[in-house]
């Protein structure tokens, strides 16, 4: 090979090599600059939280996964212990007037914002005003409608906030006046909607106030970093009123159940909080594992009837379908996580509440009722549709229910109508269905969050069902200061709902499942409200 042969080759090689090197350098530079390259400090605890939060503004948050992070960042007048009991939060104590309508909270003297500024009763007053103001467009503002004139201010009927039932006579005292003795008011004050926010920060940054580097909060944690669909980094708030055991928490917004489980299985995450973050097919195998922790929570899967449409305008038809439905079959074949069969709407666990018996499965009685209504053996039953969301277990439950009604009652004219989530919600809200598969997750640990849905024209009634006695009893319960008497009224109301009028058929109580190794995480207890404050978590000492 002569020099003349080598030279052009060498030139080509240099050119090629140079281009490659330049390309690689450019790529790496780009990756470092924009690719989300992070040498983030290792977290003491990594949590799979199910999805990217829509927002973390306490006044705006409605979802559970957002609520969890929100309640790590913010704290209301009250909070919860690991078992779910209400305990003092920002308020160190409170008194309740004998008529149950006035609460006087005493803010703790050491209450501070994460920037070191003192937190006062006025902060609560201003934050509640912000949450109520129509311009804030808070979907959960109704949690403050219990205050005197709360609803009027929230819907713009009055514009003078001083008429609303909350006053701050001094920096440490907050006096709240309610229009009814609301038995669960101290539960509401532990929710994110009633948490204080730092208004100077909101005034300065507008919608951007919630971002890292700007946000000022008052809970056990402060936000250090937040990358969309990537992670949220929380660090213990040094100004929180008690020490926080775990210093750094990394929150992963991983959506895919397989991915979540893989992360847990390979030790990259310590805690999975939602049953939906565990692949459903694995649930039966995981249940015996030591890291599987059942976590019941106040939620019910049920079926709505449109009582204005034939044949469901006939109570006998509704009762027949309720009596015949083989709920055990649905739980065993479809849900597969040991969900209890539900014959009532209100989930078990409400202290002191005795639910009615409900309609217990009785196929013969169901057949008789159906025959009496004019459809013996299901003959002549009109074509009806069963609405469900195509998300999650919706299609499987609906298909199974359709088959079960055909098997036990001979009804073969129930047609499936699956709709994409948002379309489904729209159809449900406008009662555009014959039968609809639904669910309800309680807002607080009291039967009322389930019972008051079905008041005439209630925003979440969605069945066209109306019963004036039911409405009167609800009003009566609101003015009953005696807790036991109030729960007895709820019992009678629920009896109307699930035994007499049956605009709905309860199917099952939802259960949660949480994955964590008990030698790696302490301070987690399953509780009925499924509310676990991250500030109470700790890492157990090695034995």
């Amino acid at each position: 090979m002569t020099l003349r042969d080598i030279l052009p080759r060498a030139r080509t090689l240099v050119l090629l090599g140079g281009t490659c090197a330049l390309g690689l350098a450019l790529f790496l530079a780009f990756f470092y600059a924009f690719g989300g390259w992070t040498l983030s400090a290792p977290a003491d605890l990594t949590i799979c939280n199910g999805d990217e939060p829509q927002t973390l503004d306490p006044a705006i948050v409605t979802g559970q996964l957002e609520g969890r992070i929100c309640l790590a960042l913010f704290e209301g007048l009250t909070t919860r212990d690991a078992a779910g009991h209400i305990i003092p939060g920002m308020a160190q104590s409170w008194t309740r007037s004998p008529d149950g309508k006035t609460y006087t909270f005493l803010i703790r003297p050491d209450a501070k914002w994460s920037n070191g500024q003192p937190l006062t009763a006025h902060d609560f007053l201003d934050s509640w005003r912000r949450a109520l103001e129509p311009a804030t467009a808070s979907e959960y503002a109704y949690q403050l409608y219990y205050l005197v004139n709360g609803e009027a201010y929230g819907t713009g009927k009055i514009t003078d906030f001083s008429q609303v039932g909350v006053k701050a006579p001094d920096d440490r005292t907050l006096v709240v006046t309610l229009s009814h003795p609301t038995a669960y008011f101290l539960e509401l004050t532990s929710l994110q909607t009633l948490c204080p926010v730092y208004l100077p920060c909101i005034a300065k940054y507008g919608d951007d106030w919630i971002k890292p580097g700007r946000i000022v909060s008052n809970g056990p944690y402060v936000m250090k970093a937040w990358r969309l669909n990537d992670y949220i980094f929380l660090e213990a708030n040094p100004y929180y009123w008690k020490p926080v055991p775990i210093r750094r928490i990394k929150v992963l917004p991983t959506r895919d159940a397989n991915t979540c489980f893989n992360l847990f299985y390979s030790g990259k995450t310590d805690l999975i909080l939602d049953q939906t973050s565990i692949p459903a097919s694995l649930l039966p195998d995981l249940r015996p594992k030591p890291y599987y922790h059942p976590n019941p929570f106040g939620a019910t899967t049920f079926i709505r009837f449109n009582v204005k449409r034939k044949p469901f305008d006939d109570v006998r038809v509704r009762q027949a379908l309720a009596l015949a439905l083989d709920k055990q079959d649905i739980v065993d074949k479809i849900l597969r996580d040991g969900e209890p069969v539900a014959n009532t709407l209100v989930p078990p666990g409400n202290a002191g509440y005795i639910p009615p018996r409900g309609l217990v499965r009785d196929v013969d009685a169901a057949r008789r009722l159906l025959a009496a209504a004019g459809y013996p053996g299901g003959h002549g039953f009109p074509d009806v549709n069963l609405l469900f969301s195509t998300k999650g277990t919706g299609p499987a439950i609906a298909t199974e229910a359709q088959a079960l009604w055909a098997r036990d009652l001979g009804i073969t004219s129930i047609h499936l109508r699956g709709q994409e989530w948002k379309v489904y919600l729209n159809s449900q809200a406008s009662v555009d269905f014959d039968v609809c598969l639904s669910r309800w997750v309680g807002d607080y640990g009291d039967p009322q969050t389930f019972i008051d849905m079905f008041v005439t024209d209630g925003g979440n009634n969605n069945t066209n069902w109306s019963n004036s006695r039911y409405d009167q009893m609800l009003a009566q319960s609101e003015n009953t200061p005696d807790p036991a008497q109030r729960l007895r009224i709820f019992h009678d109301m629920e009896k109307i709902l699930v035994e007499d009028d049956v605009p709905i058929v309860p199917v099952s109580f939802m259960v949660g499942a949480v994955l964590y190794h008990s030698d790696k995480l302490g301070g987690f207890e399953s509780n009925f409200v499924d509310d676990h404050r991250w500030g109470d978590f700790y890492i157990p000492k090695k034995k």
Binding site: G23, F27, F30, F31, A33, F34, G35, G36, W37, T38, S40, E52, Q54, T55, L56, D57, I60, T62, P134, A135, T136, A137, S138, E139, A141, Y142, G154, T155, G156, D207, D208, I210, K211, R227, L228, N229, D230, L252, T254, R255, D256, N258, T259, N262, L263, Y265, S266, K268, W421, K422, V423, L425, N426, A429, R439, W440, V441, G458, G459, N460
Partner: protein, 305 residues
């Protein structure tokens, strides 16, 4: 040349305008509102929400307001991620997908042309058969199957690579590989096909007759012509791979833009949907333009008009 590029870019404006308008109309008429949730929202609150997100008034007013914002480079607010603008979301998610996509496609080009070349020079022999079969598998196996298999083998059984996540180089390997496999397969087939055709042509026979080595014939003469189908294929492919993959990004938990193409529609997030459609449209136009220019650079006979 410059004039042609400028003209093509100007032509892109009405095209983008039409696709974004179509998307807006479709989103506006899709059943379900961005704000519907399981819980009833009182009417005054709903009205405030619509006002805040510029979704109140007649369709013409909403559309006009959106176009006005667009002209200022403002893609609007996301109705799903309440404290974020669409610009902010795309600004954070798109570079992630571009990094992953660039790596995946560069690897696909390298591997695909090499495999295609290796197959073509041994046409009909076992090596060729094997590569053709592998390419067929690569095209046929869906991404989500491949990704789960890779995770099972490399991350869980062998414990070599992380199962998911983003932010370090080892977390890029599996997703980039899974993303590149279908492209490797296609490029292999295109390169092989192109080479087989070219290697029969007269100018190759001439080159061989001149006494050039087989390597020189292949790389300096044949590949230059045989690569043209790959260039043509790469335009839309690059646009697609740079704007993310819903499957790979979801399975590997990568904070890219891919999942937004589906989720923003499911969430009825009108401005986010328009935003990603706009981004994809822009990438497609730019990549096609780049392809045409490359064609011209490789083969001067190509008429860019």
């Amino acid at each position: 040349m410059a004039a042609i590029i400028i003209r093509r870019l100007l032509q892109a404006i009405p095209v983008l305008f039409i696709i974004v308008s179509l998307t807006f109309v479709l989103m506006h008429n899709a059943p379900g509102s961005p704000f519907t949730t399981e819980r009833h929202i009182p009417a005054p609150i709903m009205a405030e929400l619509e006002k805040k997100y510029h979704l109140h008034g007649t369709f013409a007013q909403q559309y006009g307001a959106y176009l006005g914002d667009l002209l200022h480079g403002d893609l609007g607010l996301s109705t799903q991620y309440r404290n974020r603008t669409v610009n902010e979301i795309i600004g954070q998610a798109l570079p992630v997908s571009m990094v992953l996509g660039t790596l995946a496609y560069a690897f696909a080009l390298l591997a695909g042309t090499t495999l295609g070349g290796l197959a073509a020079v041994r046409q009909g022999r076992p090596r060729d058969r094997l590569i053709v079969l592998a390419a067929l598998l690569g095209i046929s196996i869906p991404n989500f199957v491949l990704a789960l298999l890779c995770i099972r083998v490399f991350a869980i059984d062998l414990n070599l690579l992380p199962v998911a996540g983003w932010g370090s180089l080892d977390q890029i390997v599996l997703p980039a590989f899974c993303l590149s496999v279908p492209f490797i397969a296609s490029i292999t087939r295109l390169t092989r096909g192109g080479l087989l055709e070219v290697l029969r042509l007269d100018f190759i026979r001439t080159a061989r007759a001149k006494g050039l080595s087989e390597t020189a014939v292949l790389f300096r003469h044949a590949l230059k012509v045989a690569i043209l189908p790959v260039v043509g294929y790469s335009g839309p492919a690059v646009a697609g791979v740079l704007t993310g993959s819903i499957v790979v990004e979801t399975i590997f938990g990568i904070p890219g833009i891919g999942p937004f193409f589906v989720n923003s529609v499911l969430n009825r997030d009108p401005f986010m949907t328009c935003g990603v459609v706009l981004v994809f449209g822009l990438f497609l136009i730019l990549c096609n333009l780049a392809t045409d220019i490359l064609y011209f650079v490789i083969d001067r006979r190509v008429n860019l008009q």
